[in-house]
């Protein structure tokens, strides 16, 4: 993908040293100051040696505790580390699949993995589509390499492996490796490797192809590809071999040296993954897997490059159309809500009015009753007063009569008295 493919460009000869041969160095220096991002995804059963292999590959101790076997589902654990070697700063992220292969029902095991990979692509896409974006110092979290750990059964791939790899092959660069390879005998190993490769081919699984188009790396990549999948052994412990300390695993029956090519393919894996193809892995992720994701995602959202009349569509127009559609719907919903709201308010108002009326009526009724009672009481009071008056009158009259009668009586007695004299 060179710049010089198309036109018939004139070649100019320089008569002296200009100095633009420093351009690659300028570019590289820019990257070193920003640091590189590299993200590895390790897929494999619990206890197959993923963490140990990472420790061995990067010659360090990443802190992690071994996972238990009773996880309810597969979950992905991502850890980021910053490694520095001479003047290169590497931002390494290792993503682990915790609980892979432990459940009884493994139908959905691949789903969390696919979702995680897609989520990273999505985050990058979002950043790219922003209006104000900062791509040059964006921390790239997309998975650049997926190491698939195959259990060393010696027979063939498990169906879980095939299914998972098939789902992942269009999204990420898959490098299959045989884990704990010191449990397989040499003759069995060869058969096992060929069986695995033929199964991958017959099931149409696309694993990462080491690039052979560039002269500098073509040879080494070609020779290494023959040994796929790499049978690796990981170890962080050192054992004294001869007069040197080397990373190895000590068994009662012997020592397996990690960096001995006769014992395992660890050195090959390290060469391929880090020393030769790291940049190519990053590039493939960006130009192939990410572009595929982006294309699918945008087509899903309804964007096209050309409309039915095959006139070029601009992303702007489609976007505008979508936006207007969306706003229209939003507006419609808003109107509906508003109408409903008004209706409800009216209903409530009517109800309240009714209640008010009722209350008023009751109040009036009560008032009337109260008035009536009051009147009754007053009438009774008047009656009582009249009676009282009558009584008083009668009493007065009676008293008068009595006093009159007394007077008359006393007059009579007086008269009688006089007569007697």
């Amino acid at each position: 993908f060179s710049v010089f493919q198309s036109d018939d460009l004139r070649n100019l000869s320089l008569s002296g040293h200009v100095g633009f041969d420093s351009l690659p160095d300028q570019l590289v220096n820019k990257s070193t100051s920003q640091g590189f991002c590299f993200n590895i995804l390790c897929v494999g059963e619990t206890g197959i040696g993923k963490s140990t292999l990472m420790d061995t590959l990067f010659n360090t101790k990443f802190e992690s505790e071994p996972a238990t076997h009773n996880e309810p589902g597969v979950r992905l654990k991502a850890r980021s580390y910053e490694l520095q070697e001479s003047n290169v700063r590497l931002k390494l992220t290792i993503v682990d699949t915790v609980g892979f292969g432990d459940q009884i029902n493994k139908d959905d095991s691949y789903k969390p993995i696919v979702e995680y990979i897609d989520a990273q692509f999505e985050a990058y896409l979002q950043e790219e589509l922003k209006i104000k974006r900062s791509l040059f110092n964006y921390h790239d979290t997309r998975i650049h390499a997926c190491l698939y750990f195959i259990a060393p059964t010696g027979h063939s791939l498990k169906s879980l492996d095939l299914v998972t790899m098939k789902k992942l092959d269009s999204k990420v660069n898959i490098i299959p490796i045989i884990a704990k390879a010191d449990t397989i005998a040499k003759n069995e190993l060869h058969k096992f490797k060929s069986k695995i490769m033929s199964e991958l081919v017959s099931n149409g699984v696309q694993i990462y192809q080491f690039p052979t188009d560039e002269e500098t790396v073509a040879e080494i990549n070609a020779t290494m590809s023959v040994h796929l999948p790499f049978a690796v052994v990981g170890s962080t412990e050192e054992v004294k071999i001869g007069n040197k300390m080397a990373k190895a695993r000590q068994y009662p029956w012997g020592v397996v040296q990690v960096e001995n090519e006769n014992h395992c393919d660890f050195v090959k894996l390290r060469e391929m993954l880090i020393r030769v193809n790291m940049e190519d892995l990053r590039e493939q992720t960006h130009t192939r897997h990410y572009e595929l994701y982006r294309r699918c995602k945008l087509e899903e959202m309804g964007f096209k490059d050309t409309d039915p009349d095959s006139k070029p569509f601009s992303l702007q127009e489609t976007y505008e159309a979508k936006r207007n559609e969306f706003l229209g719907e939003l507006q419609k919903k808003e109107d509906e809500m508003r109408q409903m709201f008004v209706m409800r308010v009216k209903e409530k108002e009517a109800e309240l009015k009714e209640a008010e009326k009722d209350l008023h009526e009751k109040f009036d009724h009560l008032k009337r009753t109260h008035q009536e009672e009051k009147k009754k009481v007053e009438d009774k009071k008047k009656e009582l007063e009249e009676e009282l008056n009558n009584f008083q009158k009668k009493k007065a009259a009676a008293q008068l009569l009595q006093s009159q009668a007394q007077q008359a009586g006393s007059q009579q007695t007086k008269k009688d008295k006089d007569k007697k004299k």
Partner: protein, 231 residues
Amino acid sequence: CQLFGYVGIEAVLDQMKIKTMKTGFEFNIMVVGQSGLGKSTMVNTLFKSKVSRKASQPGQEERIPKTVQLQSITHVIQEKGVKMKLTVTDTPGFGDQINNENCWEPIIKYINEQYERYLHEEILITRKRKIPDTRIHACVYFIPPTGHWLRPLDLEFMQRLSKIVNVVPVIAKADTLTLEERAEFKQRIQEDLKTHAISMYPQEDFDQDPDDRALNDRIREKIPFAVVGAD
């Protein structure tokens, strides 16, 4: 994290270098200035080859166009395995008319057109693996060596263009100034640029870290560069 031994991460630098050398580089430079200031000679001297064929032969009339034209020439040059596609855009007619109003407009239009083209390619659904980059990376502005200060045309142009492209001002035909005149001229130009808030390349807002800033400050002291070209 501490590395207990050699891993080989630094090999990625070489990998990157090889990849960039294979893809090649594109560089688009634009030269702006009145005719006769030595733009083509300058470009030829810079790249040590006959990039622009200018009529330096006597007897051939060089017609000054009535409006500003933009002419691009593309060459492929190679040095020590590094291939570069160099495009030089010339602007004959700039500042040559009697009435030079809006003579920067065709230039601004051209620059924006290139940005538009790139954007269009970038937002396609199926994008090209390597989008052809025709955007102007640097605009070299030639200031006539009056020795006084910047003319209104210079200020207008640089003000407008420094917002959309990297402008590198140079004093053309600087061999017509003595060293003291040159120092004073530079001083006055720098003050002028500062008063009008024109930001040249390297722009101060893009300084990434203290080392970068120190390096760029030294460069900024020398702006505008007083140059002499010779074929």
